[in-house]
């Protein structure tokens, strides 16, 4: 089956992440009993929860942790026993498996998660999430709050209406949190958090920009790891400092022309989710001179807008109208993908088809059609991001090898 699992990390700064993550989970689990625990989906602003001293646990991240520790099969099976179809999001099945347990369920990484008092989900990325959180709310018999996000920017509503609605959602959310905790949100404290998160975002935008360099200073093997603090520790000094160190290291590598491989023969874009249980696939091309030099899932396109309002919620609402790489329609996704291909000197694209991540999955064939029309070599890899039972070494390697042969043959080095 799967031989090696974790990606080879090339940057010193990346190596800090596992320790940060471990510490983060340990702290979350060890927090005092009086503090409320919120299980959250991605896209729930941690700045607000932090400012209200709520222990925010991001369960999708935990699902990827379980997958990367090669525990997804056991958890998924338990989730399916609870009535979840295999069609349903792998993250959801893992978490439901973790919640419902059973004799064959593996031991939970990091000693498990703090028990939640309530749940919060953001509707912006997919239907699955809301359905999954609703199920957990029913199973655990605790309240669920849904932050509804407009499916902007498709011209369905004006930007103003989008921002107004988003603001109303954040206001209602704060109100919900105030009810749950019995304390008022200190908006001054939130402002500090938002400013810190802003800085971390802007450094990350810089880093993305620097990754256009040839040879590639940081590949996807590192990149999927270094997004972690920005997603789960935004609004802390630690997070900002981490990205400053990362930016410095990348800048040094660019100056000294240190790449991922000795001679960069082809550069790839990984589109979609990685296979969390086999991140080593991201390094697979390196023996042949290929580098996955960029990935577009967590891409940060735009620097933060300057703060304009006294109320930080207003600014947060406006910031949410910035470009996002996912949850966008196919035209936008294609346009952003083509832009990345051009600016990052990409020679070929790996299109990950993660069937249980419907939102990523459903748009990939059209993206493939568009890449084909532009003459950009691409490879479709069908494999779930979390459920490793969908992985077949032979089938995957055949596709990767053939794609490498094709990439090399374009350089006149092939068979």
């Amino acid at each position: 089956m799967v031989s090696s699992t974790s990606a080879k990390k090339q940057l010193w700064t990346t190596l800090e992440v596992p320790a940060l993550r471990k510490k983060y989970y340990a702290e979350s689990l060890g927090k005092a009993g009086g503090q409320k625990v919120a299980w959250c989906s991605n896209g729930v602003p941690s700045e607000i929860l932090d400012a209200m001293d709520i222990n925010a646990v991001y369960v999708e991240n935990y699902a990827t942790v379980c997958a990367s520790k090669r525990l997804s099969s056991g958890f998924c099976r338990a989730g399916e026993r609870a009535g979840f179809s295999q069609d349903v999001c792998g993250y959801a099945r893992i978490l439901m498996g973790y919640l419902l347990g059973g004799d064959d369920v593996p031991e939970a990484p990091y000693g498990g998660l703090a028990k939640p008092d309530f749940l919060v989900v953001n509707s912006y990325s997919c239907d699955s999430r809301v359905g999954w959180f609703a199920t957990m709310s029913h199973t655990l018999n605790i309240p669920l709050y849904v932050i509804d996000s407009p499916y902007q920017p498709l011209g369905g509503c004006t930007e103003v209406a989008n921002a107004v609605y988003t603001e109303s959602q954040l206001e209602d959310f704060v109100h919900f949190l105030e009810q749950q905790t019995g304390t008022k949100l200190d908006r001054g404290k939130l402002r500090e958090k938002v400013e810190l998160a802003r800085r971390a975002n802007d450094i990350q935008v810089d880093i993305y920009d620097m990754r256009k360099a040839v040879p590639s200073p940081m590949g996807a093997g590192d990149a999927y790891t270094v997004v972690w603090p920005g997603m789960y520790m935004a609004g802390t000094k630690e997070c900002d400092e981490f990205y400053e160190r990362l930016r410095a290291e990348i800048s040094e590598r660019i100056e000294k022309k240190i790449g991922i491989v000795p001679e960069e023969k082809f550069r790839l874009l990984w589109s979609g989710l990685p296979l969390w249980y086999n991140m080593a696939l991201l390094n697979y091309f390196e023996d042949f001179g290929g580098v996955v030099s960029i990935e577009n899932l967590y891409f940060r396109y735009e620097k933060s807008l300057p703060s304009q309002h006294e109320d930080p919620l207003k600014d947060m609402a406006i910031s949410s109208t910035l470009r996002r790489p996912y949850a966008s329609d196919i035209e936008q996704r294609a346009q952003l993908t083509l832009e990345v291909i051009r600016e990052y000197h990409v020679d070929g694209v790996i299109l990950a088809y993660n069937p249980s991540c419907r939102m990523m999955y459903i748009l990939q064939p059209e993206l493939k059609n568009i890449l084909d029309r532009h003459g950009i070599p691409n490879l479709s890899l069908e494999c779930d991001m979390a459920d490793e039972r969908t992985y077949s070494e032979g089938q995957i390697k055949t596709r990767l090898d053939a794609f490498i042969e094709r990439m090399l043959s374009r350089r006149g080095e092939g068979k």
Binding site: A82, G83, F84, S85, D87, V88, C89, S123, C126, D127, S128, V130, G131, W132, A134, T135, S137, H138, L144, V146, D148, P150, Y151, Q152, L154, G155, G156, C157, T158, A161, V164, Y165, S168, Q169, D172, D329, I330, E331, Y353, P355, R358, M359, Y361, I362, L363, Q364, P365, E366, N369, E382
Partner: protein
């Protein structure tokens, strides 16, 4: 009834003919979330986009295998040229797969206007206002396509015509509950209502209901409640009724979800539309299962339901997540539940027959 059935089976010819005779435009809509009144008020004909049992050879080039087959089939029909008469298509933000139709139609279907209608996923006063804003955008576009401005009066007229249709369908629904009308017949009425001018449908319905009221109730069928993610023809319902079931209540997009609630004609029209479309029987995407269940109970109330059949198309996440909850609640109410995960192919119907027959036998006891 023949006329209604004909409208469904010859829907493309019906729309083309209407267009030729009136010289007006036809707008395709997805799902129950598009206020058709606005299209009507702009002097255009709204038609519901339906799929087919046909192999989606063209749709397969644009969507992967494991997705909800209904939208894929709709796109397939468009790519095969069956929807070439449409002047515009409205795609509401109702689920991942439907919203993917926006890009897919825009890029591939060759239809002049494809509009994305924003719909909040959560029902709240802010959501109503947000949806009203989206309707302002939508109205502007419809005025552009039709060349007509939509006045408050014309919109009020449209609301009256549509409310009349809803009350006729609700009456039919009552008659179905009393088993004067079959589940298949009601489904024919609902689907044809989505495909033809509403005044004409109102006239036909009035005549038809007149007849139905004279009937004597069927007594032999087992009373079934059906919940479905999307059944865009009558085949599955026919199968249930052939097997001895008698559908008396439903939770379906091509059923109660379409007509159960009316628009408040006293309210400012756009606001009234926003309120009504968000407060109709929602699909599971818009509401948490515990909240949605009230609507389901309301549709069943008084019809002495004996068993429930749930039909979800494969990979329909919203319904798949809700299913365990729905099953638990229905069973707690003493209703046995039969579940199908559909593929939207003709051949699968035959494989479902045995299960339905056995289920009905079991209910008969």
């Amino acid at each position: 009834m023949e006329r209604l059935m004909q409208v469904r089976s010859e829907r493309h010819q019906v729309a083309r003919e209407w267009k030729r005779q009136t010289g007006k435009k036809v707008i395709g809509v997805f799902c129950c979330d598009v206020p058709e009144e606005l299209i009507y008020a702009a002097g255009m004909l709204p038609v519901r986009i339906l799929g087919s049992h046909e192999e989606a050879t063209e749709g397969d080039l644009h969507f992967p295998t494991n997705v909800c087959p209904y939208p894929k089939s709709c796109l397939d029909q468009a790519l095969k040229g069956h929807y070439d008469y449409l002047d515009g298509v409205v795609v509401p933000n109702v689920c991942d797969m439907i919203r993917a139709m926006y890009g897919a139609w825009k890029l591939n279907a060759g239809i002049p206007y494809v509009h994305f209608l924003e719909v909040p996923q959560r029902i709240s006063p802010h959501g109503v206002e947000f949806f009203r804003q989206a309707l302002v955008q939508f109205q502007g576009l419809l005025e552009e396509i039709s060349g007509n401005s939509i006045s408050s009066e014309s919109l009020r007229d449209a609301i009256d015509v549509y409310n009349r249709n809803r009350s006729l369908l609700r009456e039919a629904c009552e008659l179905r509950g009393k088993r004067l009308l079959s589940g298949v017949e009601l489904q024919e009425m609902v689907i044809s209502s989505m495909l033809m001018p509403k005044e004409e449908h109102n006239q036909l319905m009035s005549l038809y209901l007149e007849e139905v009221r004279q009937r004597s109730p069927a007594t032999d069928g087992v009373r079934i409640f059906i919940s479905a993610s999307m059944l865009d023809d009558t085949d599955f319902l026919e199968l249930i009724e052939e097997c001895g079931g008698s559908i008396v209540a439903d939770d379906m997009p091509m059923g109660s979800r379409y007509f159960f609630h009316s628009v408040d004609s006293a309210e400012e029209p756009l606001l009234a539309l926003a309120q009504r479309y968000l407060n109709r029987i929602p699909c599971p995407r818009k509401m948490l299962p515990q909240d949605r269940y009230h609507y389901i109970q309301e549709t069943m109330a008084g019809f002495d339901v004996q068993g429930a059949i749930i039909h979800n198309l494969k990979a329909c996440d919203c319904h798949l997540y809700e299913y365990p909850y729905l099953k638990e609640k229905l069973e707690a109410q003493g209703l046995p539940v039969l579940f199908f995960r559909g593929e939207e192919t003709e051949a699968e119907l035959e494989t479902q027959r045995d299960d339905i027959e056995a289920f009905i036998e079991m209910l008969r006891g």
